[in-house]
Amino acid sequence: MTDTTQKAGGAEAKPSSNTGVKDAFAHIVQDLGKNGIFLALIAVVVLFAVLTDGILLRPQNISNLIVQNGYILILAIGMVLVIVAGHIDLSVGSVAAFVGAVSGVLIRDLGFEWWMAIFAGLLVGALVGAWQGFWIAYVGIPAFIVTLAGMLIFRGLALVVLGNSNIGSFPEGFRALGNGFLTDVFGKFDIDPFTLGIGVIAIVGLVIQQIRTRRGRQAYAQDVEPLVWFIAKMALVSAGILWIAWALASFKGIPITLIVLAVLVLIYGIVSNRSVFGRHIYAIGGNRHAAELSGVKTKQVDFFIFVNMGVLAALAGLVFTARLNLAGPKAGDGFELEAISAAFIGGAAVQGGVGTIAGAIIGGLIIGVLNNGMSILGIGIDWQQAVKGFVLLLAVAFDVFNKRRAGGR
């Protein structure tokens, strides 16, 4: 997953290709070091595949994994931007619950169509985000406090909206957001060609984009990795995508949740890497004062980061509610901790300024695999919680150790 990380040139600024096995090896090791989190994901997958006697890798389970943990990834995308800018958002679980509840009431009591309810839910999320963003960016109260308050406020309001009961039986269109699949689009087959086709398109798209990026860098005489390694990485990743596509194709096809995730990753990857807004977020996180004095409108950026988080929290809430087909008072419990863990496992720094969308996704997947694998093994929720906490601690400790070794002080 190197499309969202820039390569630092080695000590020699050689143009285009690297000659010599030693340089190649050094490059690979550096790459592995930077992509350590990806290796960790693979390691976790392998571990649980073995522990569960392969159940983890069954098509139905792969599908379940994505659908059940989609909400973590949606939240992690928003959370990593919040963390990079130097803030935190503790309210996302409560906001998710609140929006789920609101959407339920809109459908059941106000007769909203399912798509209207989804749209309204996102709007509510944006308003919540604006509310919190206002206090944080313009009044200047630390995000920790504002979102802690939000955690309490919106959990409470969710209960108020629900009137101390659950709301169930959402319309099918709504439920599709969390449970739906693009099944048998071309007709019934054992292994769905549509799904495989999408997988192939994804691979082709990724490879083309990586080649273009590589060529672009070569044209500007930037360092690129040895061709052999590049091809190897492309082959590995393509194999991975193809295998997942096959697994999904053998079950019910592409989950709607996955489509939502793919669109989000694409958009936010571009925004965080290439847009001015994204640059401003990293600038603020790296040195707020310097950013201000360079003309960055820091208050505006802060505000919109929280509006964005609000929308994504709402989306996560809607997806979760749709999947459970239930809006209840316990919804969203602990979401914020999983989202924050995902961002930090994925490499975000506590002081801000560091963190990537790709990292957050991988961090979220690690948590997802942990959730899924431990459930298959029948491990109780109590131990699951302890394990996840431990993994978070280890992941960040490893990251700190790595950075210190690489020449920090």
């Binding site: 040139g9 500007y220 360092d223 990293y282 360079s294 003309g295 409108k297």
Partner: protein
């Protein structure tokens, strides 16, 4: 066996990218007052940090011999244990704690059951305060006393550690004349009590007054040690600078055009204490191709002026008018100031000027992202190209623009800051202490860059605490004192005495 209390032999210390100390030797005789002189970045503070254990054994080469024994300090506690105490330029006092609490920090006066005996502590503190001549209640909080008295608390703290060798880093930098004189007398008084002192200073008149010998350090090397009787200002300056004053600054033929910036009646108040005026009715102007200096003592209001002008980044109740090319402009936000062709390179580049965890190229583009936007997204490749061009033209010593700015030396960091502002294509640049903490070679490069900017028809305002620097590169110099412009001198009429007179002129009461 020697009468030297301290010998530092062949001390070498390197940081990534720069050799801070190269084979430095220092010999301090027992009971003397030894001064260390050198320009900013010469290595004086680094040497003292090696001596005091801030840079522990293993991070430097060479030997420290204290009282005839080779010592290997792992941290400050080790050095304090043998009687070496350092008082840093930025005092290490905790503002919300009392004098006694600070004196005995990490050295607490314990009573029964290992708990702190505050009564005893306050009593001991009073005795120490008497020794340094400070009449204050030991329960007074540090933030409630002035910096001159805080300095004395630091010395009292050193005395409580039974100091044998006292190191003072720029002790009078933040003091007024009266407090400075008192402090110098105290140091002589301590000498009579047998305490050896090392003073880092570049106030030559002070050094002449109290030092028994002077060691000059330049570019990380010991130049020479001068005995008291041979100390002259010229000799020290020549050692410090390495070349005669005339050749420190590049030649510059000014081509000065029309007025490009005029500031009228600019006033700003302190951000917390809104009744206090920190910038008082400043009027100044800059012309195309002109290099204008602003001279002033610490606290005169120079940075406050510049920052309040640049997007109201400092201060409250700001008023005044700004004119560019004769037309009034507004600079209410930083973005507005930049759009109107202003640029401001901050005084503290690490805190306010750079994103140290980011690479060179992103720092260079930071104020000008809109120039790199294609189809709504930042063009990474173009950004790389631009950064590379600046890397070459500004001679930024780094193999690639992808290196993180935090790893660069001070001089190169400053070049990145200047590149950032040059890329924003301003008409007027305000440079606040542009050569602070930079070695002599890099300073020359920066002066050359400033000249180039002027020759391109831009107006340049240079704020600096170093009078020789202003005299060496400016065409005209304003003097600022207590927030007011007290004078304006064309370069032909400017000299240190006249400037200092203006810089120290007090407000009529």
């Amino acid at each position: 066996m020697t009468t030297n209390i301290l010998e530092m032999r062949s001390i070498t210390k390197t940081f990534p990218g720069v050799k801070a100390l190269a084979d430095v030797t220092l010999e301090v005789a027992r009971g003397e007052i030894h001064a260390i002189c050198g320009e900013n970045g010469a290595g004086k503070s680094t040497l003292m940090k090696v001596l005091s254990g801030v840079y522990p054994i293993g991070t430097y080469d060479g030997d420290i011999v204290f009282e005839n024994e080779v010592v290997q300090f792992k941290d400050i506690r080790d050095s304090e244990a043998v009687g070496v105490v350092i008082i840093h330029q930025e005092l290490a006092l905790s503002p919300y704690l009392s004098i006694a609490e600070n004196i005995f920090l990490n050295n607490e006066v314990k009573g029964a059951f290992g708990l702190i005996d505050w009564n005893k502590a306050n009593l001991e503190a009073s005795k120490l305060l008497a020794r340094v001549g400070l009449k204050e209640n030991p329960t007074t909080k540090i933030m409630d006393i002035g910096v001159g008295k805080q300095q004395l608390v630091e010395i009292a703290k050193a005395l409580s550690k039974r100091v044998k060798l006292l190191i003072l880093d720029e002790p009078t930098a933040a003091l007024n004349d009266e407090d400075s004189a008192h402090l110098l007398d105290l140091i002589i008084h301590l000498k009579e009590q047998g305490i050896t002192s090392i003073i880092i200073s570049h106030k030559l008149n002070e050094i002449k007054k109290i030092a028994d010998s002077v060691t000059v350090i330049r570019d990380g090397k010991t130049i020479e040690t001068i005995a008291k009787d041979d100390v002259t200002e010229e000799r020290i300056i020549k050692d410090m600078v390495g070349r005669d004053l005339e050749h420190r600054y590049p030649d510059h033929t000014p081509h000065i055009g029309e007025e490009i910036l005029r500031v009228e009646n600019w006033t700003a108040h302190h951000p917390q204490d809104v009744t206090r005026v920190t910038v008082d009715n400043v009027n100044l102007n800059v012309r195309r191709g002109e290099i204008v200096g602003i001279a002033g003592l610490m606290g005169a209001g120079r940075t406050e002026f510049a920052m309040s002008l640049f997007g109201r980044s400092y201060g409250s109740r700001i008023s005044g008018k700004v004119f560019k090319n004769g037309k009034e402009i507004k600079t209410r936000t930083v973005a507005e100031a930049i759009d109107n062709g202003l640029a401001y390179a901050t005084e503290d580049r690490k805190q306010y000027g750079l994103n140290l965890i980011d690479d060179i190229k992103r720092n260079i583009s930071a104020a000008s992202l809109s120039k790199l936007v294609k189809l709504g997204l930042v063009d990474d490749n173009e950004e790389f190209k631009v950064a590379n061009e600046y890397r070459k033209s500004m001679n930024i010593k780094s193999p690639t623009v992808l290196a993180k700015t935090g790893k660069l030396s001070g001089g190169n960091q400053q070049k990145v800051v200047l590149s950032k502002w040059m890329y924003s294509n301003p008409d007027v640049l305000i440079l606040d202490e542009p050569t602070r903490g930079i070695d002599v070679g890099a300073k020359y490069e920066i002066y050359t860059i400033i000249n180039k900017l002027a020759s391109e028809g831009k107006g340049v305002i240079v704020i600096s605490s170093e009078l020789p620097e202003l005299l060496g590169i400016c065409d005209r110099i304003y003097a600022l004192s207590e927030g007011r412009i007290t004078g304006e001198l064309p370069i032909a009429e400017a000299n240190p005495e006249s400037l200092i007179k203006l810089m120290t002129m007090e407000k009529p009461r």
